[in-house]
Amino acid sequence: MIVGARQGTMTRLRRLVSVSMAREFSTFLIPGPDIARAHGLDIAAAGIQLSASPRHASALLVIGAVPPAMLKAAVVVYAQMMRPRAIFVLGAEDISPLPSADIATGLSQQDLIEGMHQLRTLFAEGAFRPDMSDFDAPVLQTRIEYTCPMHPEVVQSEPGSCPKCGMTLMPRQAQATTGHNHTNHKEVDATANEQTVSSHDHKHHHSMAHDAPTKYTCPMHPEVVQSEPGSCPKCGMTLVPREALATQTHELADMDHGSMDHGAMAFMSMIDVTQDLPRSIDGLPMEWIEVPFGPFFPGLPGGLLLMLTLDGDTVAASDAHTLIENNDFPSGEPMDIASFAEHLTGMDPLVPVSYRLLACRALENAAQVDVFADIARARIGAQERERIASHLGWLALFGRQTGFDWLMRRAASLQLKVQNADFQQVVALRPEITVLMKRLHWTPLLKSRTVGIGRLVSDAKLRGPVARASGICEDARSKDKIYEMLGFTSAVGQGGDAFSRLHVRLEEIFHSLALIEAAGAIALPVPATIGNESGKGEAVVESPRGMARLELTLENGRVSAAQLDTPSTHHLTLIDQLTEQQELADALLAVGSLDLSPWEIQQ
């Protein structure tokens, strides 16, 4: 029996259906494949197909600890899945408000495979069950509120008439939980034109408290004048307030026609109708819609929510943020060193090593402890291995976004091989990686797909590969003397577009291989033994996404304060300029090419 089963008793036909459902299984990943790989789960090897839309998924896979905001979004996804639907949780304790998991296991490939097997048997037996209840959650609730089409500032919970103009108020759906956000001052019902008012021209709404019109008239028969709203005796058309008709201000174009005086709109000239619609770049008056991409969008890193205002298939405005609230450090009582290091390691599952290293360096710097050269070298080995894995992971995402199936699978499997490999194994992987690179070099359409997209001029915000792709040669590693010993050269590209970012990353993969071979060892950084030292310390680490900086204060052996600065936080602010007036696919590619990590973004 699964929680999200369909209603009905098991007949022979339903049995057959259930069995084939169990065999053909597609799942929706929370937060996403990138996290799955980061936890070392090989989705493809477990025989799991990913589905792009919740509609096509029969199971929800929740992987690792998921922050509450993300769970809220997961609830929406679950609600939009078709029954029978199951929930499979790996390594997360509490998943409320989602219903209880059908399968909950640990976080390992073995668990994944066994869990999938159990899930299939569950489906075969319990896809249909006689007793069941609807799924509901606060997020999904809506309340109906009533508003006046001419005076949107008039909003009340009961139906009635507008105190200003006496018009009957119209119902609209609004999310029960959230307050007055951009979604709920747009009509969901009758008046589509309401949404010509996209979030940037609220002022229209609120500047519209003018005196109530006294007389009502028919747009086609001006001789018809009465004091009550109603319909024209001659043509049956809805009467409009005379004042509104006389002064054809934006209320008319923007607000009225959708709701009350359709006749007037059909009658008015196009200029009047469209004068206040947002203008597209070619001067055409169009209506814009706000479309959410994410937080679980196939082409974007899981957890990143991208709100695009679309003008047709072109992005007019954008707003991006992460669903992972990043509480830097438990302010208040100091943390002991080990748990501090652990905290930073766990912060971003995509790049644990880099932040672990960052913590160690900062601590050692605060305590003026030096680490031996061979340890430092082994740490570099670990960090460069992570860089390779991270870049491969980005390639996989890039492949998924652009429908480049081969790349997606190849890069993903390579990442899984690299990220926990020991020194010999990494070195042994060089030929495979080389093959991948060669293949990419000869891929048709790849250049035309990426050149000129998401172009960035050099800018203080740029970090890591993104910066280097724009010709800025800033790299924390170039200052490090051990890196110098290992013969490090930073990869710099020109052009600053998605294409050169791709190439910088590919080049870096090779550099990192060389560095690992030079370093000759791989060992995870562990904080050096520090006594009851006190002092301030800071450190920078060139994480795969760019330079991360940590400043901390040590008070007799415990971390009392710390402050972190991460690359993705800066890159997030670039999205506006990257996506503006780009075709949807290009905009998404541009965002993807930044390789944001929602986990390290601080808001």
């Binding site: 034109n193 959708g258 006749g263």
Partner: protein, 174 residues
């Protein structure tokens, strides 16, 4: 024969009905596609009259043309989804009269015009296409070329009206 008449009538009615739907719906896209299917029904009528090339051509071309009309309607009409249920028709009386007059006119032409002797036997479909081709390259060559000129004029006119000059466009990207 009777079956033929039936289908002619059937598709005729279908065409008319879709034609009515064009005006009875609030949604721009719907009315555009209704027109499309009305045209398709006309094509089917041609088929049942054994004018194969004409019919298939009608069915093919109208689909694309009307779809493109649909996108232009969605671009330029208010509330293309018809969610506001706003009535797009106006000047009802006038249009009603105009419609009636033209209908009567059409019927009159159909009835009173001298259509010459009806063809005793329909040439087979392949032959029709060949005849059409020979006609185009023979007697009607001038018409054919004129059509070319007309299309050219249409293209130039459309471009001149709708497209803003390249110079302004260069500022904004690809």
């Amino acid at each position: 024969m009777s079956a033929q008449m039936f289908f002619i009538g059937f598709f005729g009615l279908a065409a008319v009905w879709f034609g009515i739907v064009v005006f009875r719906t609030f949604s721009m896209v719907r009315s555009a596609l209704a027109l499309l299917f009305s045209q398709t029904a006309l094509g089917a009528m041609f088929l049942s009259m054994q004018a194969e090339f004409l019919g298939v051509l009608q069915i093919m071309m109208m689909a694309t043309e009307m779809s493109i009309m649909a996108i232009f309607m969605v671009m330029f009409m208010m509330d293309p989804g018809g969610l506001g249920e706003m009535d797009m028709t106006h000047q009802k009386r006038l249009s009603l009269i105009a419609g009636l007059v033209s209908f009567v006119g059409a019927v009159a032409v159909a009835v009173f015009a001298d259509w010459g002797p009806a063809a005793s036997v329909v040439p087979d479909a392949a032959q029709q296409t060949v005849d059409l081709g020979l006609e185009l390259l023979g007697r009607s060559m001038l018409i054919f070329e004129t059509a070319g000129i007309t299309i050219l004029t249409a293209m130039i006119a459309a471009t001149a009206v709708a497209i803003q000059s390249v110079t302004r466009s260069n500022e904004h990207g690809h």
